[in-house]
Amino acid sequence: MKPLLEIKHWLEYLGGATDQRPRGFPRRGGWLLVALWWALLVCLIAAFCGQSSKFIYIDF
């Protein structure tokens, strides 16, 4: 169970849902890692954004 919880913590940190760094996250060069991670996310957004549809809950 513990490895699964660690994975969950990593995913939550990478998704911006928690402020607590997961165990093993590098203490130095944090801003560089953040910049690289943002660049990857922006690339994914750019790659997929052409097909955009409206959010399901907007009309509720």
Binding site: G16, A17, D19, W38, V42, I45, C49, F55, Y57, I58
Partner: protein, 391 residues
Amino acid sequence: MIFNTFSYFLLFLLPAAVGFRLLAPKWRAPLLVVSGASFYLFFSLTAVGGVAGALCLGLFLWEAWFSRLYRPGSRWCLAGIAQALLILFIFKYWNFATGLARGADNPWHWAGAFLPLGISFFTFEFIHYAQDRRQNRAEAGGFWEYFAFILFFPTLVAGPIKRYQDFLPALRRPSTDWATDWERGFTRILSGLVKKFAVADLMTAFTVHLNAADVARAERWVLPLWLVAYAVKIYFDFSGYSDIAIGSARLFGLKVKENFDWPYLRTNIAEFWRHWHMSLTRWLMDYVFIPLGGSRVALPRIYLNIIATMFVSGLWHGAGLNFVVWGLWHGCALGIHRWWAHRPGRAGAVPTVAGRAAGWALTFVTVTLGWAWFTMDISTALLFFRRLILG
């Protein structure tokens, strides 16, 4: 659209978030009101509702003024709840109700009906404040503070549904840690956009087939796959939306409560609902289930309260019989789970690994089959189940 547009980020979010942090504290609430009002007008005019939708900004002004009458135990609070429900009924349920009563082609039908932006969500915040003021569970706050609460644009359109008790202290003393807030906030926003674009929207290739014609002629084995795709789509769509809302609020230094916490990994339906659209579940618990008596009544009434609460949840999600059936589907599932969890000899029992695995599978199947009622009208959903079961 809205959250996945440049207009949202460049015209509203960034200027308002920067301004909020730079202005003197006394100007923060008015800034949120002005930015929220501009947001409402802009997106009503360009995306939802048009000029008539934009005029619904008046509802917020009226609510902000009317709320000043609320006192603990006051009947004005009940009047506030009644008017909020009336407004929701007129805009969202009028045609549904008159259609049920007198058929679709009736003289009462409102041909120009439209939904004001975010009406389902802001109505619930209006009701929460009125009821909590009546029961003296919420501080009145100032006019501009309450106005800022109801017009806080990151959560205005589709939640998370906020509580004034959480918002007011944060508004008065927002976080001043720019670096952490902006790093975490932007990470959250980008993650939400990736969820929307790279996962939810991809699923549309499958979910677009959930219509009568395609369901009628599809191979039987593909039907459950389409439904699983919808389960994936709605989770990534709405949790992505919530990520953007929560991340946006973080840029202001305001923390909004979470809306999702890995719901599809839960091992029973009650746990699912405690982790899916959490702000709505909490609202339904506090303003529907508990006022009905909650779990402190005779057993048959408990089941009735559960089903009634999920009936309200279904109706809130949409003015259609399919949404009512979806709510009742979950109400029945929650009732069955309650019976199972409280059956004699069950107290203190710890589920085995196999039991948890079976619980997870059963919960996922129940929720996924339930989405059939959510995404298709009644006749198409019935056709779907007939084809799924009988071929």
